[in-house]
Amino acid sequence: MNETLITPLDGTPEDAEKLRIAVVGGGPGGYAAAFLAADLDMQVTLIDPEANPGGVCLYRGCIPSKALLHVAKLIEESQQSKNWGIEFPPPKIDLARLRTWKESVVKKLTGGLGQLSKQRHVEYIQGRAAFDNSTTLRISKTDNSEVVLSFDRIILATGSRPAIVPVFKLDSPRLMDSTGALNLEDIPGSLLVVGGGYIGLELGSVYAALGTRVTVVEMLPGLLPGADRDLVLPLHKRLEKMFAAILLNTTVASLKEDGGGIRATFEGTAVQEKDREQTFDRVLVSVGRKPNSEIPGLHTTQVHVGPRGFIEVNKQLQTADPAIYAIGDVVGEPMLAHKASHEGRVAAEAIAGHKVAFEPNAIPAVVFTDPEVAWCGLTETQAEKEKREIKVAKFPWGASGRAVTLDRPDGMTKLIVDPHTERVLGVGIVGAGAGELIAEGVLAIEMAALASDIAMTIHPHPTLSETVMESAEVFFGTSTHVFRPKHG
């Protein structure tokens, strides 16, 4: 390794006066921060091991999984269309082409981000960064060279990685995390999904649609822990049909390589004796994610890492080291790309001296299963825990014209409302396309909208968005369509 000490810019005097920023990690948080910092006239260096920005979200997360879920939905609908008088033969799946398509989606988007970096004159370094001190990074480049650069401010956006539970440490190609599952090496005959959170359910849905017999094991009494039960119910019902089994209150005691598969032993009252041991072609472990806060040399800074591995930051996303900011998964839950991007933008603005703070009134969560589950703001579960007085208004999609035309009445839209001020505190939606619909709920909460504001806003007909308006009407007991499906 040759070590060169270079200044990041051999610059004109003008450049020399710009604030020099390094962003470590090129995910949706990191590149959003880098781009805004560049737009705010800073001299930005973005460091990531991949060829282009994108991070887990684009390379091994949101984007490839959504491409595959789109395919899964098509397969599902081609089967459902029997009910509508249209019948297709069973699909022929060309796995190599499917993979190529998925990869082309990733390439297109990450390449686009590479372009955007260049257009903004963001210096992109492919490599990994370690701290020499609070303002100096030693970057091992992918081409095996090393550079040492110093900066005025550093933003850590190192993200998270799939958590591994020791009991599942098994050196077997059949054992996958979400990254492995997205690689789609084959369509296994059977798949065990350990963990009934959103990653397990989304990827389980993909494999199930492709023809795999999927079993989901969740140690808690319900799928999607944290979400309101009434939102999970329609999904649970549909998944029960798609999956071979959903085992709740169940834990995996052991996993063993067993000739043609992995033998899993289950524990829990919900498992019948004969099902205690089963063999699967593949196992997907999706029991959560861990923050990537073990950054080499971090001890040379004043950055403080909390007991759960999250880097501690204030509302400006500044760490205990005043020169270092941190954003995204590495600073805390929820580990969501859109939260990270918003934090990235706040951090960049804070560094630019703007008086900003990360304090959203609502962060939406979306599970891209079929049906989708989405919520934002206060949940019923949380209100109950906090003993907050709320009123809940639900609109069943059976009463939505649009849902019926889609043959997807298995949905529900609900508002969680403050009974005194009638202000909307939370929105929850389950149903096809819930992820798109939730945005209106987020806006309503951020704008402190009242239920009457939503009820009196004209929504286009016939769309699923009307369910948001009608749930507000339900709050006042005046919904047009509750229990009366719409005609024309």
Binding site: P13, Q302, G306, Q316, K355, V356, F358, A448
Partner: protein, 558 residues
């Protein structure tokens, strides 16, 4: 009319009624408090409207505008007309922070804050002229302030268009020094943040603290000069807001019923949006609610400002006409002399002084001093009694922390400083200056001797910077070079004690049954009796005297 001050856009209500006859200002003009805005036809009599006093305190908490020059004159609050209709009091247009204000034709450089209590200076040397290129950090002029001659660096880059000041002129903080030509679009300070590690307390809380501080701090310029987002420097290096629960930013303050834009406005003008009463449906807070809240606060400040001066402040009786009794000469009391007069009067009026006297036998110390003097000389310093006293006092302050403290009567708190920075009074041809030596406890006597020599020289050469005279926690004043057997020094407020040294003399001391010639150093310790009891002061001074008497102890304890 809407005025954009350093803090916010403020609507200015008319103080007169009648028909507007002539408007004397344009949009984009800077308007000073007291400037005539328009004349009105009021039943035939022409009335003149001045911007309300309200605009004035609003500039108080702002970044670099000094609020009150020490003599009590108010610095004019420079404000700018917002590009909106000049007369109709409309508030529809969104107020923008200064930096975002439309295209600025030529950017300008204003005199930024110079340091503790310094609000103006005399322009000694101008280093720029129209057409000259300046870049950020380049010195553009020399100012003589009350404490020192300072070089003022530019905070902007570009080509100088017009120089708005002349040599010999008095320049106030915030005054425009020069304007830039054309495209260099960074207006003054706002765009480029400071490079040094900036401490951020959570934005809202910080803004609030600063705003409250500004409200309270009649006469406390350093607090007022703090930008709202950077509250007073805290001894603890970092203040983490309550642990970040599960989601950053969603810890237990319920979602406030205000749109993101409104919340940002509040943060920018230093209003805690949680304290604003929303007038909208369901308690929703509008932009107007935030502004109204800010105005109410500002009015409260204005009212407070008009309240009579603090009790305990002495108003000097009128002077007789001395010319009646003979020839006199009046000379303006400027610079260091005036500052000294003000500061010492303030110290004297604030602090109930007591002076404790003691004597230290430094016969042995003197031998040591003579022996080590060449060593200090080699290093470029002078091994003086003052240099040794620095070391002695640093050790004493560690043992008696209440001597290294400050009283905050307003908060009813005692501030203990965890650092020991000692000021040493220096007699210069411009008057009394007090350079401060940092972290005295961490330096050895030779290092202290060197630093003291350098700083004193700098003070005499007028090269000392303001920063080098700030932040002291204790002061030493040595008049021994001139003479005297004792005196009562005045505590350098906000410190709480000062040690005076007089001339050492050989005196007969009764030792073991006979008189012996010993070298005796008289010590005078003045202290703030509010914080320090007489017995403690006696103990402190005895400790100091013993440390002088047995220098060996110092090397063991200090």
């Amino acid at each position: 009319m809407e005025l954009e001050t350093d803090k916010a856009v403020v609507e200015v209500p008319s103080s007169v009624s009648g028909t507007i006859k002539e408007i004397l200002v344009k949009e984009g003009d800077k308007i000073k408090v007291g400037q005539v805005i328009f004349t009105a036809d009021n039943n035939g009599a022409a009335a003149v409207a001045e911007p309300a006093r309200k605009a004035e305190p609003s500039s108080k908490g702002a970044t670099a505008t000094p609020v009150q020059s020490p003599s009590g004159e108010r610095a004019a609050a420079a404000t700018k007309l917002q590009p909106s209709s000049p007369v109709a009091p409309t508030s529809q247009s969104a107020p923008q922070p200064t930096r975002a204000t439309g295209p600025v034709a030529a950017s300008e450089f204003r005199l930024q804050e110079l340091g503790e209590n310094i609000s103006e200076g005399e322009l000694v040397r101008l280093m720029i002229a129209p057409g000259v290129k300046v870049s950020e950090g380049q010195p553009v002029m020399e100012l003589e302030t009350e404490k020192a001659v300072v070089e003022v660096p530019s905070s902007v880059s570009g080509v100088v268009n017009e120089v708005k000041v002349k040599e010999g002129e008095k320049i106030k903080v915030g005054q425009v020094i020069f304007t830039l030509q054309g495209s260099a679009s960074s207006p003054t300070e706002a765009v480029r943040p400071a490079r040094g590690p900036v401490e951020h307390v959570s934005g809202q809380h910080g803004a609030r603290l600063a705003f409250q501080a500004a409200i309270r701090a009649e006469g406390k310029t350093e607090e007022q000069a703090l930008p709202p987002d950077q509250p007073r420097p805290h001894p603890a290096a970092f203040s983490m807001p309550a642990q970040l629960g599960k989601v950053a930013g969603t810890e237990h303050r319920e979602a406030v019923p205000a749109a993101p834009h409104t919340r940002r406005l509040a943060r920018e003008i230093g209003v805690d949006v949680y304290e604003v009463k929303g007038t909208g449906p369901g308690g929703r807070i509008s932009e107007d609610d935030v502004k109204a809240h800010a105005k109410a606060l500002v009015t409260a400040v204005a009212a407070a400002a008009q309240a009579p001066p603090r009790a305990g402040h002495f108003i000097e009786p009128k002077l007789p006409d001395f010319a009646k009794w003979g020839k006199i000469e009046r000379v303006s009391m400027r610079g260091v002399r005036r500052k000294t007069a003000e500061h010492l009067a303030e110290s004297w009026n604030t602090i109930p002084h007591v002076t404790q006297q003691d004597r230290a036998d430094i016969t042995e110390l003197e031998q040591l001093r003579a022996r080590f003097a060449p060593k200090a000389e080699q290093a470029g310093g002078k091994m003086t009694v003052t240099a040794i006293a620095l070391k002695v006092c640093a050790a004493a302050l560690k043992v008696f922390p209440q001597f290294n403290a400050t009283i905050d009567m307003e908060e009813e708190e005692i501030i203990y400083k965890q650092y020991i920075h000692i000021g040493v009074a220096a007699d210069t041809d411009r008057g009394l200056l007090v350079p401060v030596i940092r972290d005295v406890d961490k330096k050895n006597i030779v290092e202290l001797a060197v630093e003291l020599s350098q700083l004193s020289q700098k003070a005499r050469d007028k090269k000392i910077t303001l920063a080098e005279m700030e932040g002291g926690t204790f002061t030493i004043t040595n008049l021994g070079g001139i003479g005297g057997t004792g005196f009562t020094p005045i505590v350098n407020h906000p410190e709480v004690a000062i040690l005076g040294l007089s001339r050492s003399r050989t005196e007969p001391e009764w030792i073991a049954g006979k008189f012996e010639p010993r070298l005796i150093l008289p010590l005078s310790l003045s202290y703030d009796h509010r914080l320090i009891d007489g017995a403690d002061a006696a103990r402190f001074l005895r400790w100091v005297a013993e440390a002088f008497e047995q220098p060996f102890l110092l090397s063991v304890q200090g």
